[in-house]
């Protein structure tokens, strides 16, 4: 991803995105917005997992923090929704760094399980401080955006954050990230300040998840409740990142579309259908996709390119 896809394809993507609201029904525009939301979250997770090799199964927790930030600010102070997204970005960056610090001591699967713990614990907190955070009945924003606003916000934020990611990854920080992933020992030996970059990666990915969380709540008619941020959300983010694979913008799009759309589509599958559908179809799809393309969509693209070149 440090190499931008060809300018042509970027323009094409932008054009398609701009045209979609005019071509799709309002319901499908809302679905397209969901893809944008997951795009941001998966992108952030990609930076952490793909580029510094730190696995997190807890980014749903950061989405929750971002989402509740938006909901509470809007409910109590009628803050402009875009400002709440910026606030979510900042707050989650801080939390991400805070989580990244102890995470330095953990590696591999221990880190994954520790972040899993985070994914489970954070959604419990609104139940504790239910006066402020609404308990199980949730927090409702003061204003609810339209499908179109949501779509625009999600994809604009996606574009901005994508460019930001590209800038980070092509520069010194990106090189440091990749060094950390490839060999921590070599990185340290070359003078890369491990703690700084690993924590930074956590902060950035958490900030991205926070923005995604804001949009996620806004897409739920502005309603934030603990049931929306169950562990499955964090697992879906991880699935999205795995389906995306590493190093491809298209991969991230595909990964985001996979987790944003498949569960909803699953309930319309005939025979299995709505009554039994979701979990069975989505679960089976995840297993199948991983069996067929273990390196994700990016890996598939790389294979195709190699094949085409041969």
């Amino acid at each position: 991803m440090r190499h931008l896809p060809a300018l042509g394809s970027l323009v094409a993507v932008a054009a398609v995105l701009a045209a979609l609201p005019f071509l799709l029904s309002a319901y499908h525009v809302a679905l397209a917005a969901q893809v944008g939301i997951f795009f941001i979250a998966v992108l952030g997770l990609n930076i952490l997992t793909g580029y510094t090799g730190q696995i997190s199964i807890g980014h749903g927790a950061f989405m929750a923090i971002g989402g509740y930030t938006t909901a509470v600010l809007s409910r109590d102070h009628h803050t402009n929704l875009v400002l709440t997204m910026v606030a979510a970005f900042a707050i989650c960056f801080v939390f991400g760094v805070l989580v990244g610090l102890p995470a330095l001591r953990l590696s591999g699967v221990y880190l994954a399980l520790a972040t899993f713990a985070l994914a489970i614990s954070v959604p419990q907190l609104p139940l504790k401080w239910s006066n402020f955070l609404g308990g199980r009945d949730g927090v409702q924003t003061a204003t609810t955006p339209s499908h179109l606003w949501l779509y625009g916000a999600a994809w604009t934020a996606s574009a901005i954050l994508f460019v930001l990611a590209w800038l980070i990854l092509r520069g010194r920080v990106g090189r440091a990230f990749r060094a950390v992933r490839d060999s921590e020992i070599a990185a340290v030996a070359s003078g890369v300040e491990l703690p700084l970059y690993k924590t930074l990666a956590f902060g950035i990915s958490a900030a991205y998840a926070g923005v995604a969380g804001s949009l996620f709540v806004l897409a739920t008619n502005g309603f934030a409740a603990p049931d929306e941020f169950a562990v499955v959300l964090s697992l879906e983010l991880l699935i999205g990142a795995a389906v995306a694979g590493l190093g491809s913008l298209w991969g991230i799009l595909v990964g985001a579309a996979f987790v944003a759309l498949l569960p909803t589509v699953s309930s319309s599958v005939p025979v299995i259908g709505s009554a039994h559908g979701q979990d069975v179809v989505f679960g089976a799809a995840v297993v199948l996709v991983m069996l067929l393309i273990p390196d994700g969509f990016a890996g598939l693209l790389a294979q195709v390119r190699r094949f085409a070149r041969a």
């Binding site: 419990q124 991880l238 039994h276 979990d279 995840v286 297993v287």
Partner: protein, 337 residues
Amino acid sequence: MATADASRLEGLRNRGAALGGFNSVISLLLVAAAAALLVGSLRSSTFAQLTVEGLALGAVYGSLALALVLVYRASHIVNFAQGELAMATTYVAYQLIQWGLSYWEAFFATLGIAFVLGTVLEVVLIRPVLHRSAIAAVIVTVGLFILIDGVVTWIWGGDFKFMPPPFGTTIYHVGSVSIARLYLGILVVVLISVLLVWALFRFTKLGLGMRAAALRPAEAELVGIRVDRMLAIGWGLAAVLGAVAGLMAEPSQLLLEPTLMQPILVYAFAAAVLGGLESPAGAVVGGLVLGVSLTLIVQYVPAVTSELQLPFAFAVLLAVLLIKPSGLFGRRTVRRV
């Protein structure tokens, strides 16, 4: 390979040195904790009851944690579907009982079925992917987590099922202490299962083969051990331990529903990490420690209100990991640069 060699030597050498010292500290701490539990139980009947209850629940966590560790030692991945697999095999037992088997007939039949399911799972869904990408294999288990839940709800529905209590509903009264036969039964069953697995590893040729395959697969292959087969058996055994956990969890919760194992999986992760993912003994001890701690804390520390339990457990877990990043019994791998 040099790194792995070095770390093993390091580990062996360190048994008498600092790391080994650490291990003795931990063992001392555990003995002290056990003593404290004993004293507490003698002084307060509530304490005694809660300790037994905590140990029983902890045994269930430990059984599932041991399953996780077996899988981890074999394939170096975490099987997210271990809990759901355990739940599904419990439903299989339920169905067998519906079809006329007695509880214990169904119990042992289910263990056999679980073994087969575990091996098939490894061969068909994990092995093909694991070579290419570890993360892909983990995602396969995540997909299974979701899929198994869906399939069980489809076949049996989401409502409650009743299974005959394996140990009856008797309550023993020792002085002023009431101890449910259920908790004793759970402890005995899990203990026997764990001991059998330990005996398998320690005393049988198969067990030796499995240990070799896990530790040094290339070398094991050279001496004629079918590593692939060993891995599959490892997963099969893990599924059996999971089934034991599920079959013991159900009577403790009084009813069978698809969400039975979900909280338990979480505690099992915590127990496995607490004990050190490569340590079978650590997983079981970790489970027991977790079970007793949680039960006592709910009772005696009112500040930890019900919604804070889980976060509290994980805060403690994190604290332990910060001090000992590879778990209580884990061996820290020292990397030679």
